[in-house]
C-alpha cells in the first residue's frame, strides 16, 4: 500500500489497515509512557537512593530531587565522606506501565485497610449502580419528553426554553442541595447524575426526533395513519436507531459526572477508592482504577453497539445512518 493512500481525503482504509491503525491508537500512548518510564535520561527528575552514604537524612528507597542529590554528592565528595548512591527515578505519581499492569490485578486482591472499608470490586459495583439508576431514571423521563418536544411544537415550546436555561447550571452545584434533600448516601449521587444527564438528554432527543424525514410522516398520513399511530408507528421506529446512538453517547457523559457525584455526601464507589489510594500514595492503584473505568465504559459501549445490530436488523449494510 502506498503511503499516499493512507492519507486519501475521506476515503476508507482497507480493513487490514484499519485494524492496524486502530491498534496503533493504543500503542502510541503506551510507547510514550514506556519511554518516559524506562529510559533513564528521559525526564526522571528524581533520584531513588540505593545507598545513603554519609548523608544523615537519606534513607534507602527515598525519592529526592535530582538537584538536592547532586548537591549532597558534591558536599560528600569535598568533605571526603562516603558518597551516596542512587538511580534516576520518576515521581511517585507516575508509576511505570508494568506497575500499573500488576496493580490492575493486585488492586482487586488488596484487602481494605479497615474492616468497614470496601474491596475494589465492591466499590466498582456501587459506582455502576449509581450510574445505572441515574441514567435509567433520566432516560425514563427524558426520552419521552424529548420525543414529545420533537414531535409536537407545543411541547417543544413548553419544555425547551426552561431546559435550555437549566442545562447551563452545572450539575455539581446542586451537590449541597441534593444532600440536604436526599441525605448523604446513594440518592444525592444518583440525583447529580440525573441532573447532569437529563437536560441534555431532552434537548438531544428532541433534536433527533426533529431530524426524522418529514416525507415519511406525509407518506404515512396518505396511507391513513392518524395522530397516535403516527407517533408510535412512524416517529418512534423512524428515530429509534439514532435515539439508541444518542443514549450510548449520553451514557458516556453520565460517567463523567460520576466522580463529582461520588464526592457528595459520604464519598463512595470508585471515587472513594481512588482518593483513598492516592492518600496512601498507591498511585499504581489510582491509575488501575482509572483504567478500569475506561475499560468498563468502552466495553459497555461495544456491547451496546453489537446489541444494536441485533435489535435493528434494517441498519445492516445501510449506507449511512
Amino acid at each position: 500500500m502506498m503511503i499516499s493512500s493512507l492519507f486519501a481525503v475521506r476515503k476508507k482504509l482497507d480493513s487490514k489497515h484499519r485494524i492496524y491503525v486502530s491498534i496503533l491508537s493504543f500503542i502510541v500512548p503506551l510507547v510514550i509512557w514506556s519511554l518516559i518510564s524506562y529510559v533513564p535520561f528521559l525526564w526522571h527528575p528524581k533520584v531513588e537512593i540505593s545507598a545513603p552514604g554519609d548523608v544523615a537524612y537519606f534513607n534507602e528507597g527515598m525519592l529526592i530531587d535530582r538537584e538536592i542529590f547532586d548537591k549532597e554528592v558534591e558536599i560528600a565528595r569535598s568533605e571526603s565522606r562516603i558518597i551516596p548512591e542512587g538511580r534516576p527515578a520518576n515521581p511517585v505519581y507516575l508509576p511505570a506501565p508494568h506497575e500499573v499492569a500488576t496493580a490492575l490485578y493486585t488492586a482487586f486482591t488488596t484487602e481494605p485497610k479497615r474492616r468497614n472499608e470496601k474491596w475494589l470490586h465492591e466499590s466498582l459495583w456501587d459506582s455502576i449502580q449509581v450510574i445505572f439508576w441515574g441514567f435509567f431514571i433520566s432516560s425514563l423521563i427524558g426520552v419521552p419528553l424529548g420525543i414529545l418536544a420533537g414531535t409536537y411544537d407545543v411541547f417543544s415550546k413548553l419544555f425547551e426554553p426552561f431546559i435550555e436555561f437549566f442545562r447551563y447550571l452545572p450539575a455539581p452545584a446542586f451537590g449541597a442541595l441534593a444532600v440536604a434533600i436526599l441525605g448523604i448516601h446513594e440518592a444525592p449521587k444518583i440525583a447529580i447524575i440525573f441532573i447532569g444527564t437529563f437536560f441534555q438528554q431532552v434537548l438531544i432527543v428532541s433534536n433527533t426526533t426533529r431530524k426524522l424525514d418529514p416525507s415519511l410522516l406525509e407518506a404515512a398520513m396518505t396511507l391513513g395513519a392518524k395522530r397516535l399511530s403516527l407517533l408510535f408507528r412512524v416517529v418512534i421506529p423512524g428515530i429509534i436507531t439514532h435515539l439508541y446512538k444518542d443514549l450510548r453517547i449520553l451514557l458516556g457523559w453520565a460517567w463523567t459526572y460520576l466522580i463529582v457525584a461520588e464526592l457528595i455526601g459520604t464519598s463512595s464507589g470508585i471515587t472513594w477508592f481512588i482518593t483513598q489510594q492516592a492518600r496512601y500514595k498507591n498511585f499504581e492503584n489510582v491509575y488501575a482504577a482509572i483504567i478500569i473505568i475506561g475499560i468498563i465504559g468502552l466495553s459497555t459501549d461495544i456491547v451496546l453497539a453489537m446489541l444494536g445490530k441485533k435489535l435493528f436488523p434494517w441498519k445492516k449494510g445501510m449506507a449511512k445512518a
Binding site: S215, E218, M221, T222, G224, G238, W314
Partner: protein, 304 residues
C-alpha cells in the same frame, strides 16, 4: 434542415375520438374547483396556484406538466391533503376532501418507504392503519407485492432494493389501500432512462387492470404523452391551467408509438406551451458571457 410535417394535435382518429367520448360519459372522479393557493414569502404574498379548475373521469390517466414554478407539486399536495388551499374546493366522487386520507394514495419521488419495515410490512402499513387484521393485511400485501413482481423480495428491507424496485413497492403500498385516486409526484424522476421506461410500462399495465384513477406529475414531455389520456398543462407565475390536452395517441400504448405523428404532434404542442419561443428583450439575459478562449494556433480550429 427540413422539418417533419406533423398533423395537428387536435386531430383524432375515429377510435381515439370514440374512446374519449366514452370516457367523458364516465362518472367524474376528481373535481377541482376554483383552487387558489397563496404563500407568504419574504418578498410578500406569492400566488402559487390561481383559479385552477379541472375534472378527471373515473379510471382516467391524467398527467400534469408545466415549467418549474407552476405549482404542480403544490397542486398534488393539496389534492393529497398535505396542504390546505387558500380557497376553492377539491371533490372526490362528489365529496369534499379535507386532510390526507387513504382514499387518495400518493407516490412520492423520494420513495418514502419506511426503512425499518420489510417490503411486506411496508405494504401492510396502510392496510393495518385502516383496521385490517394482521393475517388479512399480510395476505393482501403479498398479492400486491406479487402484482408489482417483487415476491422474491417480500422480506427484504428497502435499502437492499434498487430505485425502480423501491418505487414499485411504493406503488404497491399506495394501491393496497385501494384508493379512489392515485397521486404520483414525479415518481420516476430519480430513475435512469432505462428503468424509467420500464416503470412506465409497468404502471400502464397496473392501471389497465385496476380500478383506479391516476394523476401523475412529471416534467418529462415524452412521459406525459406516453402515459396520459389527457395532459393538464400549467403555466408558471402564477400557476394557472393553460390547456387540457386530449392525447390523440391510441391506447393501449407501446414504445413504438414514441415516433408516431400524433405522438410527436402532441409533444410539439407541449413544447410550445411550456417553452414558448423566447422574445429576446436583452433584459432577461440568461446566457453565457462567452469569449473565445482557444489558442489561435490550436490544432482544432473550430469544433464545427
Amino acid at each position: 434542415m427540413k422539418h417533419l410535417e406533423l398533423p395537428s394535435y387536435l386531430e383524432q382518429s375515429e377510435d381515439v375520438k370514440d374512446r374519449f367520448d366514452r370516457m367523458k360519459k364516465r362518472p367524474v372522479a376528481l373535481q377541482v374547483k376554483n383552487l387558489q393557493k397563496e404563500f407568504d414569502s419574504p418578498q410578500g404574498q406569492v400566488t402559487a396556484l390561481n383559479d385552477i379548475n379541472f375534472e378527471t373521469y373515473k379510471r382516467e390517466f391524467v398527467c400534469v406538466i408545466g415549467p418549474s414554478g407552476c405549482g404542480k407539486s403544490t397542486l398534488i399536495r393539496i389534492l393529497a391533503g398535505l396542504e390546505t388551499p387558500t380557497s376553492g374546493e377539491v371533490l372526490l366522487d362528489g365529496k369534499a376532501v379535507h386532510g390526507p386520507g387513504p382514499d387518495r394514495g400518493m407516490v412520492f419521488q423520494g420513495y418514502t418507504l419506511f426503512p425499518w419495515l420489510s417490503v411486506k410490512k411496508n405494504v401492510m402499513f396502510g392496510l393495518e392503519m385502516s383496521g385490517h387484521g394482521k393475517a388479512v393485511s399480510e395476505e393482501q400485501a403479498l398479492q400486491w407485492i406479487d402484482l408489482v413482481g417483487l415476491s422474491k423480495f417480500a422480506n427484504a428491507y428497502p435499502h437492499q432494493l434498487s430505485g425502480g424496485m423501491k418505487q414499485r413497492v411504493a406503488i404497491a403500498r399506495a394501491l393496497a389501500n385501494q384508493p379512489r385516486i392515485l397521486l404520483m409526484d414525479e415518481p420516476f424522476g430519480a430513475l435512469d432512462a432505462q428503468t424509467r421506461a420500464k416503470m412506465q410500462s409497468y404502471l400502464h399495465e397496473i392501471w389497465k387492470n385496476i380500478d383506479v384513477t391516476i394523476l401523475f406529475i412529471t416534467h418529462d414531455l415524452d412521459e406525459a404523452v406516453y402515459l396520459a389520456d389527457r395532459v393538464l398543462v400549467l403555466k408558471a407565475h402564477p400557476g394557472e391551467v393553460q390547456e387540457l390536452i386530449e392525447v390523440p395517441v391510441p391506447q393501449p400504448r407501446s414504445p413504438e408509438q414514441l415516433l408516431s405523428p400524433e405522438f410527436l404532434a402532441t409533444k410539439k404542442r407541449l413544447e410550445d406551451l411550456i417553452h414558448p419561443p423566447e422574445v429576446d428583450t436583452g433584459l432577461n439575459g440568461d446566457h453565457l458571457n462567452m469569449v473565445r478562449m482557444v489558442d489561435v494556433n490550436d490544432e482544432v480550429e473550430s469544433v464545427f
